[in-house]
Symmetry: C2
Subunit: 572 residues, 2 copies
């Protein structure tokens, strides 16, 4: 049903918004803003883009998601995996030299936004269910490793690059001699600091009297402390001249709204990466949204979520940003800091805009090593090889899927990794749904119930074969049903009547209808009659529109009991 709330989900929380909710949202917005400043810069760096692109992607997209998204606490913006995928896609285009990396990233965000919004309007959100969560987590583990390795060059202060494990290791190895000691001191120091905070921060802060809750929030904004400290040190001792790479001049002011570059060549080069980023970004977003929603009995509408993310990406593109998605860490901080509605994200957007307007000169001396360190510490938390052992106990097929996805991602890069993950997931699904549920049934003595002959003591007539079809008939199972009937008839030459019990057949597609006609014809040639029982109303209506019944050798019975008893009597 189309209501104004469907078009603009924000109307739900805007009504009855009060001052108490406002102060909760305000506090969350302040904390999230503090956390987002280094994160936005870092993910722009990871994507191989100028720092301001990360800030731009954290303004309008947040505001637009706040209006169109279905989660009340999800926070969108640049995230690690999508930024890595952006780097891979943009790198190829920018190397060709026709457009700048930023222009390519903007087009990528626009294409991704169009795709996501279109999927939402087409109500294709259900497709996300066909991507195995296990396969996605394998992909994330491998990508996190690649991200961490790709950032090592900033920690070491060397030139290195690559999209795969092999390329990265090789490139780091051959350039190792150029390590900048000062850069390594800063980057290594920040890593150690952040790891210490993660391991001991909450305990230490609790020991000095803070509540566990406040302590947890404060540890989340530790990266900002590292940013402030390393800016101070670098500026004070003029470390830039000593070889420490810094973020440098970030343009002041809000992004200019502009149309992305939609040249055909660029679209041809970027549509596939955009699709892959959309899929992974969407799946990640929905999973974060559902996790948070679960804690508040809040439903995530899969299709609305596509529209929310799609419009957010379009907003990012029109304001010079990179592809965005719902991030886990930022959303959890938002939730834990007490955000009640998307007003928190609206306020965050305003705060980031203020930072972009006035505070970017302060970031000049921020070492890239600091940003790289925050990325490395963030992504190593995503690395989880235990899934290999855990899946082994449950399903060897899952373990194989996990290993294949990890190895392809590490060996051939993120785009190959996602593609492989999607193929593996769909193949697993096809394999698991390849054997339809078709059971031979018989009568439970003294009742009118028919049950699976393999699992119950049932009565059968030697000349009647009854198959119960437990799902709708369509192309993917029609051939199987055909084989099943032929082999049953082939093994038992007494059979004179076949009954298809259609209790669970809600639909028959054209291929299945053709198959039924072929089965009917072939059985007739062998002197065997085909009957149907318990056919549902809509299926009967459809069959009546065709000439199926004109050829059907047998009858259609309302109930299976009627079919069985009538045919038994006829056969004697």
């Amino acid at each position: 049903m189309l209501t104004s709330e469907n078009l603009l989900p924000a109307l739900r929380w805007m009504r009855g918004y009060d001052s108490e909710t406002f102060s909760s949202d305000l506090i969350a917005a302040i904390i999230v803003t503090i956390m987002l400043i280094p994160q936005s810069l870092a993910y722009a760096l990871l994507a191989g883009l100028p720092a301001e692109v990360g800030l731009y992607a954290s303004i309008l997209p947040l505001a637009v998601y706040a209006l169109f998204g279905s989660s009340s606490t999800l926070s969108v913006g640049p995230v690690a995996i999508a930024s890595l995928m952006t780097a891979a896609a943009v790198g190829e285009v920018a190397a060709a030299g026709t457009v700048s990396a930023t222009a390519a990233a903007v087009t990528l965000a626009a294409l991704s936004g169009i795709m996501l919004a279109a999927f939402g309007f087409l109500r294709l959100g259900f497709l996300a269910n066909f991507l195995s969560h296990t396969v996605v987590s394998a992909f994330i583990t491998a990508s996190a490793l690649i991200i961490a390795l790709s950032q090592l060059r900033h920690i070491l202060g060397i030139q290195a690059g690559g999209d795969t494990l092999g390329e990265l290791l090789h490139s780091l190895w051959v350039n190792l001699a150029q390590v900048s000691g000062m850069t390594f001191a800063i980057g290594g120091g920040v890593i150690v600091f952040l790891l210490l905070v993660r391991a001991q921060g909450v305990r230490a802060l609790s020991a000095v009297g803070l509540s566990r809750y406040s302590a947890q929030l404060i540890t989340k904004i530790a990266p900002v402390l590292a940013v402030i400290a390393t800016i101070a040190v670098t500026a004070n001792f003029n470390l830039e001249e000593a070889g420490v790479a810094v973020v440098g001049k970030i343009p002041t002011g809000l992004p200019a709204l502009a149309l992305p570059d939609f040249s055909l060549a660029l679209i041809e080069a970027l549509w596939l990466p955009a699709l892959l980023i959309s899929i992974i970004g969407y799946v990640e977003s929905v999973s974060v949204g559902r996790t948070l929603g679960g804690k508040r009995q809040e439903r995530i509408d899969a299709d609305q979520e596509l529209i929310g993310l799609g419009t957010a990406n379009l907003a990012s593109a029109f304001s010079g940003g990179l592809p965005v998605t719902g991030g886990f860490s930022r959303s959890v901080v938002n939730f834990d800091a007490g955000a009640v509605t998307q007003a928190a994200s609206l306020m965050t957007a305003v705060f980031i805009a203020v930072v972009t307007l006035f505070l970017t000169p302060l970031l000049y001396a921020l070492p890239k090593a600091t940003l790289a360190a925050t990325i490395i510490v963030a992504v190593i938390a995503l690395v989880d090889f235990s899934v290999i052992r855990s899946t082994w106990k449950v399903s060897k097929g899952d373990t194989a899927a996990v290993l294949v996805t990890m190895l392809i991602t590490l060996g051939f890069g993120v785009e190959a990794g996602v593609s492989c993950g999607i193929l593996v997931s769909i193949s697993l699904h096809l394999y698991r749904t390849s054997k339809p549920h078709i059971a031979e049934v018989g009568l439970i003595s003294g009742t009118e119930h028919f049950r699976n002959a393999r699992r119950y003591q049932v009565e059968r007539h030697p000349k009647i074969l009854t198959l119960r079809v437990d799902e709708s008939l369509f192309f993917a199972n029609a051939a199987y049903l055909e084989e099943r009937i032929y082999s049953a008839v082939y093994e038992n030459d007494q059979i004179a009547q076949v009954i298809l019990m259609c209790t669970a057949v809600n639909e028959i597609d054209y291929t299945a209808l053709e198959t039924l006609e072929a089965v009917n014809l072939r059985l007739k040639q062998q002197g065997i009659t085909l009957n149907l029982s318990e056919v549902k109303g809509p299926v009967m209506d459809m069959l009546n529109r065709t000439d199926f019944f004109a050829h059907l050798s047998g009858d259609v019975f309302l109930s299976q009991f009627d079919a069985f008893s009538t045919l038994s009597k006829r056969l004697g």
Copy 2:
């Protein structure tokens, strides 16, 4: 089970091969050979290759399929659709100028052979079921139109080309002024002759006393009469000088066995077309094999068929041929002419080899227009727009799939068409399997049976929710089960016990296990207990290997009746 017959299915018919079978096979081989000579040349022409390539593809591949294939009457060789796809793939590579069209076709056959054989060894034959027959026939109709249009240039004697409906029509239109009258007289004459034979041939031959059966066979070799007549006319009146394009000099002698060109650039350009040709060729082959097999109670083994086709394509590649597959018309002629075993194909291969060795000089003056005419008449029989109306009565989704596939094929060419057909089929499958079978059940009074509460009068306890899961639990349905439980609990706050009745759960994958753990935890937080009933042995074993039962809030019951009565008593 691995037996020598699995490795070499030909052993089945080789034992006990007798003289009676031999004479049946010999007659079939002679008739098929006569039919294959123009067909092989024509499909080479369609693929944009020298005529001899078509002959080469009709020698070794037949012999190899005879040894490794699973159908006793399928005849492999160049066919219309695969040749058109070869033309599209080869055209792009050859235009780049690095390799000849023939070398590209050979590599295409080799890649296709490797893929098919690999799929066979991996036992992936079942995947063919996921390609909707309806979508495939839509693709064939559109391709046949493109083939017919692409051959018009040979009938008109003009230069024209293109891969799509638009390109072909435009190219024919702008070159129309150069029509060669003599060529058109020959091509148009052959088309009229062949159409007349098809429409009236059987009746006319029956009228002069032939049996209907012989008459049908003779009409099938009508193209050879056209070949002989037009060669005679062209040679006699020296029409080549009057502008009639002829086949020209075909090298005499058997093909040299050689390794295909496996350069990385060529593989990169051809792997996707090779995959698409493999898929369509395989699906077509299996469908022909099953149709013929049905008439003789013969089973087609989907995986063995992959190996048969794969080795046939490898044989084609190593002997300088193009991609091959099981053809409908050639197989039907083989079957109708009385072939009993694959010995018929072995003999056909020998006969074609003899033709290639000695008779090719006779084909010098064969007009290309004659070959084009045989192609046009063959493929217009494949055009079937009635499927649009027939599917409309059965399933609107099918009609949409048919239209999309046809339009994409006509508008963007065969490769786009097949890709679209595969995507549409898999999307239809995913959509149709997206809602798993989960039913709320209750007790049928006076029995121990539990049935769907929507369809039966059943007893339920107000505080107990029982959901029967009718399929294995895995990633694609786990999220749906989760939603279903949460919404039931959300709508009815009396529920204190949830029972999952696992009668049909044969397997639980890792994602589903994680979901069950999350459901258990969340229900526990709401004071609701999760129980399982009727868990199958292997599933219990798997769960015991994990720590699932350590966390499960409720119990596992052997039978649903036990679960229901125990929990009812407990709740009072």
